[in-house]
């Protein structure tokens, strides 16, 4: 992609990252949801989700993960060397994500083929591993303050699970068994968990400091996320659980909203709020005589404070 032209006055300030575009974002958006879906499906299977729905969920989860990874493959500079991604398991969460992805596909594929619920559960656990790896990929990027905050990890996991539950809620409407309530209850809980982690993430980021531009973007997201991703799906779930007519439609709507909210959240985080660290000068130089100047951190309100890594 093209680097946008940056004027001299903006060079020291945090800049929106442009190396990971919609393709990389898609991996977090779809892959995370896929991982979450696999885990939710495994849990639901334990709670009695029928085999068809289970298989459908696993298939959807694998498609989401596979689709995300395909998008990334189209983004990387040297796609034909993609296998090199497996060379750094000891510290790279991208390597670990790729390794986990293989196991996810192995377990998930076998589960699809055999229908063995144990394999489905295994795929679910590995799906969680995939989701966690993705959260750690973002958090390992010290160059992006909005990502490296430790509170981004539970947030990414929580939203992946909420999205997974959202998908599952949709899938479960086709279920023959009566596992629907458990799924909806799970969705409700996960929506609440995500809302809580979102709040703690944003509070943490504000407290520990982040580029003003990133905070502006994230703060602006808050009300929309609350409405679309949290309040409305929660209401829909509650209505469905309360026995309102049109339970399937309500569950589906709740699922879609939960997914949509998560995807908006992740797109915002990976693209729009992904501002770089920018530069900082704890002291301005003495120019011959006179005092040095005060600390400078262009694009940051709070100077000299960065959160613990």
């Amino acid at each position: 992609m093209k680097k946008p032209f940056i004027r001299a006055s903006g060079l020291a300030s945090p800049k929106q990252q442009h190396n990971w575009d919609w393709r990389a974002a898609s991996n977090f958006i779809a892959g995370g949801a896929g991982g979450g879906l696999l885990l939710c499906a495994a849990l639901a299977a334990l709670a009695g989700l029928d085999a068809f729905a289970m298989r459908a969920a696993i298939l959807l989860g694998l498609i989401l993960i596979g689709g995300g990874l395909t998008c990334v493959w189209f983004e990387i500079g040297r796609p034909w060397r993609a296998m090199n991604v497996y060379r750094h398991f000891s510290s790279s969460w991208m390597t670990r994500e790729a390794v986990v992805a293989l196991t996810v596909f192995a377990a998930g594929g076998l589960a699809l083929l055999t229908g063995a619920s144990a394999l489905g559960v295994l795929a679910g656990i590995l799906g969680l591993g995939f989701l966690y790896s993705q959260a750690r990929i973002l958090a390992a990027n010290k160059g992006i303050p909005a990502w490296r905050h430790s509170a981004s990890i539970p947030l990414m996991v929580a939203t992946g699970l909420a999205e997974g539950a959202g998908f599952l809620a949709c899938v479960a409407t086709f279920s023959a068994t009566s596992s629907g309530s458990a799924v909806l209850l799970g969705l409700l809980v996960l929506i609440a968990v995500r809302a809580w982690f979102w709040k703690s993430y944003l509070n943490g980021l504000v407290a520990d400091g982040a580029p003003d531009a990133a905070l502006r973007v994230l703060k602006a997201l808050g009300p929309r996320l609350l409405l679309i991703g949290h309040a409305l799906p929660a209401l829909a779930v509650a209505a469905a659980l309360a026995g309102m007519p049109g339970r399937a439609a309500l569950a589906t709507a709740a699922g879609i909203l939960a997914v949509a909210g998560g995807w908006v959240l992740k797109f915002t985080l990976v693209r729009r709020a992904a501002f770089t660290q920018g530069m900082a000068l704890p002291h301005l130089p003495v120019r011959g005589k006179g005092p040095s100047g005060p600390a400078v951190k262009p694009g940051w309100k709070i100077i000299g404070q960065a959160h613990k890594v």
């Binding site: 004027r7 001299a8 006055s9 120019r287 005589k289």
Partner: protein, 918 residues
Amino acid sequence: MSMETAQPKSVKHVPTYCYNCVSGPDFMCVKVVDGVATEIEPNFAAAEVHPARGKVCVKAYGLVQKTYNPNRILTPMKRTNPKKGRNEDPGFVPISWDEALDLVAGKLNAVRAKGLVDEAGLPRVAVSLGHGGTPSNYMGTFPAFLAAWGEVDFSFGSGQGVKCVHSEHLYGEFWHRGFTVAADTPNCRYNIAVGANVDVTGGPCAVIRHADARVRGYKRVQVEPSLTATGACSAEWVPIRPKTDPAFLFALIHVLVRENGLAKLDIPFLRDRTASPYLVAPDGLYLRDAQSGKPLVWDEVSATAVPHDTAGARPALAGSYRLAHAVVVDADKERREYSDVEGRTAYEMLSQHIAKYTPEWAETICDVKAETIRRIANEYLEAASIGETIVIDGKTLPLRPVAVTLGKSVNNGWGAFECCWARTVLASLVGALENPGGLVGTTVRLNKSRDNRHLSVKPGEDGFMVQYFNPTNKEEWQSAPATRNLHQTLVPIVGHNGAWSQALGPTQLAWMFQGERPDDWSMPMPTLPDVWLVYRSNPSISFWDTKHLAEVAAKFPFMACVAYTVDETNYMADVLLPEATDLESDQMIRMGGTKYMEQFWDYKGVVLRQKAVEPQGEARDFTWITTELAKRTGLTEAYFGAINKGVSGVSPLKGKDYDFSLDPASEPAPEQIWDAVCRAATVTLSEGSEEHDLEWFREHGFYAVPMSRLEWYLTPTMEKLGLRYELPYQERLLRTGRELGRRLHEQKMNWWDEQLSEYTALPEWHDVPGRWIRNLENTGAKIEDFPFWLLTTKSMQYHAGGNAAIEVMHEVAQNLRGHAGVIMNTKTAAGLGIAEGDRVEVRSHIGATYGKASLMQGIRPDTLIIIGQFDHWATPFANTIGAPSLNTIAPMSLDLTDATGSGADIVRVGVRRVEATA
């Protein structure tokens, strides 16, 4: 072109120099891989001798691209469209070198047949050379061709005269042989820099000197309307109102003279090295001894008036004294006798003159607080540490580590005379003029010898050093100008030392008077030259009112341009000659000694620019082109004669005990010419002990011999000759102005009267910015429509390099604020609804220029800045960057021309947003 990544077969590091701007030469090497120049590198072999330790500035790093730029003109071309103008495609078509040279030589031969001077008494051949004398470091033997040719008009300037530090050149050289003037930075402790942008324009030598000084802890106070890079690197920034600098400097003098008083100043220096004790009559002229005609001083020992050079006398510095009998000598040597007359010392005159220029007064003019002005003056005085000494090469000299340096637009145009005077007086008052740590001149250009300014110091009139003014007496004054810029007619102080004096005349007059002339014009009508040769010059970008200038250029009957790419000037040319550029051709020049902007060396010698790579296409070494022109115009004999005399080289090719002179009959090739120059130079420099040929120089690059640092300072030479600096009182200028006025009025010319007002003995403040406002109002424009001052500032990436077509320079320049944009104050912009990056129109009463707003806090709210000289419409690449230019909208006007013939880069403008950024 195929991509080559194989291991290189040969890698060479070719030593050469960069002289793209006036601050050169600087050393560098060209890395050449398999015959292709790939990199510019410092030349660390020169680190010991070169003040900048063998390094070049950013500009030089564009030379690789300059060599391989695909937009270069690589074959001779001729114009096929006889119509000329910005909207006429020249229709250039490639031709052979033979055809091109024959075309040019044919025109030159026609001129020789008619006579070198036309019916108006003006040379039929005009030559325009680019920035500040730098072309001479690339044009090989062309000076020898010009010498062989005879009368040439250098009047059509590309910026010299108006874009240079013009008053500093003229008055600096007059007062202390300082064509340009610098701080003795290695010893300086306090530098008031009024617009002096050395960290941008001073080249690597200035940058390292000031960086070292900063780390040592010197204080530089930058007085300037915007916070330039130099201001950024200074300890203090004083954002003064544009063009009010004289008031600021007058107030500094006031604090020294009136508030501190003579007792705290450098009395021995003022008494012995300046004209401060000279007695001035009530009519403003020096009181002179009736017999000898020498100016009188009051001897405190004998309590009588005695000639200034009376042995044993102790001249009084202050006070007024009654003299029984004395004479004064006015303009045209008119002599008046006085009896029982009161004479005041020149210092006393200064003291009374400066009384009204208090810091409180200056505050109202400059928008700088009186307390700030007073503090700076007192810091300056304290830092001068009067009485301190320093030992340099075994000699004890005064150490006066303070200097006031001036920048462009402060030291040229109206107000510049006052600034130059004031800062030289400030140096004199504390004994810092031409002493270690203080204010020092660099070199001379209006006097000889160019290579050693000390040799130009000879006793002249009245105890001062000799001056070679253009005569203003009735018999010798040049009433019919011999050049189109009238330099000998109008500007006595610019002198008549060849091309330099000519080129420093009022160059805009040459352009202006091709259009309109004053109503009372009584001289021959200026003609256009039959032949105009342009070398490394693009006046259609670098002058003012560039639209008008291009229209004038289109009228020239024949124009041959040495062309790098098509540009805005050669767009009107009849013939384009592609020259082998910086890395493709040979030349030897002098280096070392003392030279602007801050080249103060411990060595002197010679350095070779050499062909690091083969010329691209059909481009040819300019020495080859010149030799061919000499041949085709029948000037071979005279041309090689000039080369043998040392024109174009560095020493005569024949001297005592050596003879490398060239035989014209053998038609020496460029390599043979430079081989002889190399040998003569080394034999001369080594006083016969060493001789090195061109091959030796190709390997070693330069040859240097040590020089004493004592040569940096002129005062010891003045002391040795018993001479005084012509300060603070300007009796000679007063008389000269009166004479010039008489001559002009005898010719019924009153159009230079305003300029005559500058000839004063002690400069007065005269609402300098108001001149621009009145000029605007005279055109019928309303001042409220043009509420801002537009100024310009230089950029190290572009300044003088002619490299607006170089992609990498543009790229790296964009890291700095304001390039290719319009710099304005953030708050001002907000008031006008202008945001960072918005496209804005900057309009003066003659036109508009467009660029993107670049908002800064570091600029006065009433001021806009456009960096550099852009607005290209023909030069490839440069015409795509959308950079605005002050030159497009700054008028040429007689009102705005000072007595030296200069103007300044300043114009009143309005600004508005034309569209928001995408």
